[in-house]
Symmetry: C2
Subunit: 360 residues, 2 copies
């Protein structure tokens, strides 16, 4: 109810400041009621049922007038003449921005989250559990991006010979992420050379930011005699590739079964989402740039960059340390979702994941 900078109401002054102009407090109450009811029932809501279910102290007729105004302003619409109203994207936007507060979770839920995440056994497991958790709480499709490499530093580099001509490079970052690369070599490799390379790379790289590692690696290369250069070069190239694979960010998805709750209109609601889930590039765009942790990003309907997902909303946020975002996570669901609860859940999960990753 609060958080609305209540306009000078009832005066009729034409303030010319966007929505403030016509929308007095009660109209906003009506809008909120409409959103809440529609989210609950998924059916157009009429003036009569509105006054029944919420105790606004006015008659249906009055509400109708307000509704007409709200429709005029573009916040609600009717699917057809003489039906109830449903919120437009703009309506949801106003609701999210001004008419609702993010719902906090119950202590029991918080407890459940933190204990579930605490059981994780490695970074992969953290991410998997997070996806599962998020999907379960929000009952939507959950998306979690793996911690980006770009902000982390090198913890350890390992070179393992698989077969005489096949090496496995393993890169361990400060965030616990493990990257692997296979390198095929032209000639059989000398085990001593490998050991040498391994130790030199580690002394040169450990503690370095991944972004700075390139130059250090170049230096390492130069310390080797020309005869060994081809092999070293191959390995270094592969390693650099692993360092900078941010182009191919990894992502985990879960809760697709929740799409079944979309109800009907399979073709328009479910199909595009399922298709998007296959395309991780699209998902990354949907999650958007990681802003600060704590800040929730909400993209409603047509606000998001894909035409096919016009009936879909995205709630996302960054996670990581307080100051630096490691990656983003979020959910996608129908525009008519329960924003306060969903946003609360996303925020809470992001916090607890950050906490787990920051150690415990």
């Amino acid at each position: 109810m609060p958080s609305v900078e209540s306009p000078a109401l009832g005066t009729g002054v034409d303030v010319e400041r966007g929505w403030v102009r016509v929308l007095d407090e009660r109209k906003l109450d009506v809008l909120r009621a409409i959103v809440e009811d529609y989210v609950a029932t998924h059916e157009p809501v009429g003036s009569k049922s509105l006054v029944d279910r919420h105790n606004l102290g006015v008659s249906p007729a009055t509400v109708r007038n307000d509704m007409a105004a709200l429709e005029e302003e573009g916040y609600i619409t009717q699917p057809h003449t003489s039906a109830g109203r449903i919120p437009t994207d703009a309506g949801y936007r106003l609701f999210v921005d001004k008419l609702s507060t993010v719902k906090t979770l119950s202590p029991a839920e918080k407890k459940a989250i933190s204990s579930f995440l605490a059981g994780a056994v490695d970074l992969d497991d953290v991410v998997r559990r997070t996806v599962r958790l998020l999907a379960q709480i929000t009952r939507q499709v959950a998306i979690v991006q793996y911690p980006t490499l770009i902000r982390s530093s090198v913890r350890h580099v390992e070179v393992v010979t698989m077969t005489p001509r096949r090496l496995l490079l393993v890169l361990i970052t400060s965030t616990g992420r493990v990257e692997q690369r296979i390198v095929e070599t032209q000639h059989d490799v000398d085990e001593h050379l490998i050991a040498d390379l391994r130790s030199r790379m580690n002394t040169a790289l450990v503690g370095q930011r991944l972004t700075d590692a390139a130059t250090s690696l170049a230096n390492v290369t130069e310390t080797f005699p020309p005869s060994d250069r081809p092999l070293v070069a191959a390995i270094v190239t592969s390693l650099l590739e692993a360092f900078s694979d941010d182009g191919e960010q990894r992502i985990a998805v879960g809760g697709a079964a929740n799409l079944t709750r979309y109800g009907d209109d399979f073709e328009r609601n479910v199909k595009p989402v399922l298709e998007a889930l296959e395309e991780h590039v699209i998902l990354l765009k949907l999650l958007g740039e990681a802003t600060h942790p704590q800040t929730l990003t909400v993209r409603i309907g047509h606000e998001n960059p894909y035409e096919e997902l016009a009936t879909t909303s995205v709630v996302a946020t960054a996670y990581g340390s307080k100051s630096e975002a490691l990656a983003t996570l979020g959910i996608v669901g129908p525009t008519h979702m329960d924003y306060p609860s969903t946003m609360g859940a996303v925020r809470a999960v992001a916090r607890y994941v950050s906490q787990i990753l920051a150690d415990s």
Copy 2:
């Protein structure tokens, strides 16, 4: 057409040997035609359209008689009186076993598969690409199990200190799979001890089968003085856990968007599959035990172990070396799928993955 041990037909002798008893060759032709048409159109197929589309040299009336017999035997059924026939699970079973041959892929397709897989950069990538490929070719939901740990041996064990009280264990297996475990310790760890432990574990373990590793590890533990035992024990325990995590087999899934092609009957066809995809345990059961590579397992409708998936079939096979199965892969789709093509694709992909993994 071939591969049917043609029964002594037309004699009317009651051979009493299952389906051979009544089903002469033409009836089987009819059944095959019905399956093919139904798979193509997804609509009940009648006698008239059958003779139109296939040139069986007989009249609709004759076909009707055959159909009556086939229905009597339980191979086809009609959704309601005076509709066309659709195959039953038993009908598909017979079709798969006796009436069809696995379709081989075109050279172009083979080329595409092998070159797409060859681009993989590590084991994870191989699996991800395989899933994608399989989903794309079969246009079904694809499932790929990660190579099992149980048959592989230890290539390398690495212990990395993340923070003074936090160690990261990395296990690299002969199949290129990398397992990680985080170990929290009670006290700050001594770096020399870690180095010592690392080298002793490697000398003891490298080359060992994972199944045999437990005893070797126990031996290693005993070589340490009692004061270091708690730490060593913690690490060893975690490592053993990583060795035997077969209980929690990893799985990759893809192509869920193909579910949209199921058309209508969302509730019965799509929903249960989506739900199953979330439960990896279920998927593992669906794939079934890895038999030999080369052998295709087909589970049709109610044959698979989940009631909710009674309208779903699974086509799976093992991959790995010729003699030993590393893991399984396969697809799930509606019972009315194109079995010959699907089976061909699954078999081909399995072969190429095996080949890639066996080196190139």
